[in-house]
Amino acid sequence: MTLFQPNSAFEPLLRVDRLSLALGSGPSRTPLLDEVSFDIQSGEVLAVMGESGAGKSMTALAIMGILSPGIRITNGRISYRGEDLLNLSPDRRRGLRGPEMAMVHQDAPTALNPVYSVGWQIAEVFKVHKGMSSADAWRNAVALMMRVGLPNAAARAKDYPHQLSGGMRQRVMIAMAIALEPRLLIADEPTTALDVTVQSQIMQLLVALQEEKRMGMMLVTHDFGVVAENADRVVILYAGRVVESGTPQSILSAAAHPYSRALAACVPRMDEAAQRLPVIPGKPASLADATAGCAFAPRCPLRQQICLHERPPLREVAPGKMAACHFSEEVLADGSRAVVFKP
């Protein structure tokens, strides 16, 4: 089923263009996201990284059109295959969710309905969107559960979410998301609640499906290791703004923004001797505390007067690499991993 014909062959699968969100209105209005822009192409994995409160999940919910009431889009555009999503009727928007774009939520225990069997919940997708009979939908649900690697799927389909382990529940979530073969898959911290051995199973499954179907995938995560192994490109958010984007390798080896550089450096690594970790002083800021200047300025060791007054624009600082820092050239020229961040 194709709902849209692309306007142009060069149009990306998804384009988020200067997207801003705010909670509430009037004097109590709290900004959540400030002019966030990025593209996702078909067959590409884009990782969206940041610490808590950076706006990663908000961005995902805005693309899906499932923001909580009270959170408004104050600026910007989201276009899907050239079509402006924000001007669609609620019905058409709902029609997109499932066949065109789908989401794997972070917290499978709360995202699944506890009073229906998992097979029923997957089958519902086929009944609602494809008008299948209950028997057909059930057969499809069981086949899909096998596809995502659930052992003994025919029997497991009758289980309720609480009877499954965390990894199995996450597989059920993935089965529901890929049921209608969407072109865009948004995975919001799909492995954060899982153990490492299960995490590696789930990431391998997600990427195998993504490559097989040539889906565009937005992978929301805070784990640099997951990004290094699975993403084609990365966008790093800080306090609701994009601070840097580029390939995982370019950001891990030579980030152009002091925040991304420090964030990559303060992760304990397995491949070198345990040594004192470089730290970022203070705590992650939210957009609500942000001033006229750079949101990272209060924690930044390179801070100058200009950083407090003038907001650095996101600009291309090297081929394929964008950063929002007045001093990206200086940061890039400094080759070491964390020399500017003396603990």
Binding site: H222, D223, F224, G225, C266, P343
Partner: protein, 340 residues
Amino acid sequence: MEVGQSFSSPEPDRPLIEVSDLVCHFPVRAGLLRRTVGSIQAVDKISFSVQRGEGLGVVGESGCGKSTMVNALMGLVRPTSGSFRYAGREVFDMSRAETRRWRRDVQMVFQNPFASLDPRMTVRQIVEEPLQVSGLRLAAAERRAQVLRMLEKVGLDARQADRYPHQLSGGQRQRVGIARSLILGPKVLFLDEPVSALDVSVQAQVLNLLDDLRRELGLTFVFIGHDLSVVRYVSERIAVMYLGRIVEIGPREAVFERPQHPYTRALLSAVPRLERTKAGAGERITLAGDPPNPADPPSGCRFRTRCWKASEICSRIDPVLSVGSDPGAHSVACHHPETQ
């Protein structure tokens, strides 16, 4: 024993902590009469020792029993059997008065700083409380001075002393938890996932703080974690747990660079690595399925149902962790250990 005096070991070379054959089974009850129909073997015959000043990291996935083990050693859960000797003294046999003195020596930092601090107490009250209940009988002014010194030590300032936990960030709350655990001047800290609830940038601050405090105060650490790179950072020795057992224990470098147990190898290869790329993810062992139910563990080796090296002997004979005369040696509970 006098107030303020602490446990001293008669033999200086003896490990500070000696745990042997610790077992924690929880009954499973079912039916109208709540009859015991089985037991969850959360911790099953665990033995290890920790030298004075050493950091032991305990890694394992959820449900492997690492938190139950620490809770049992801290007296928060009643162990089914086993022995825990602290400085040569049997902790499980101590009288109430002795236990109270022992608690000054051994303290715990909990995982979730959002749930482990009383929301109705100020930071000052939270940190001061151990001084009031420990039987040290200090004057109020002295207690206040100690609290302020301790807050400064963990990187909080006096202005934060009168705040409530909800007014603090996650990192600050965990600093309060650390201050509370250190206020009695303990020799041993049990840390149960102390940084797993924190953001990466804040996690690094707290890890550095723990490292500094350990050096400055000469503390002995037992550090529980699921994040191998974090545990590696704070421990000289590593114990790997699977389904209630220690399957491998040894010096950090040996366990991380020359793992002998198949489970340890799988666990290490599953950790997402910064140095890997999408194109070349390198050698990777993916385990099938989930850990078995601890109420009904497999016969023989508990890992054999997911192990690619399992053979007939593994289902018959339970491999024993071969702890030799040297408590610091690298030992493994496996019939087919990796030999490199």
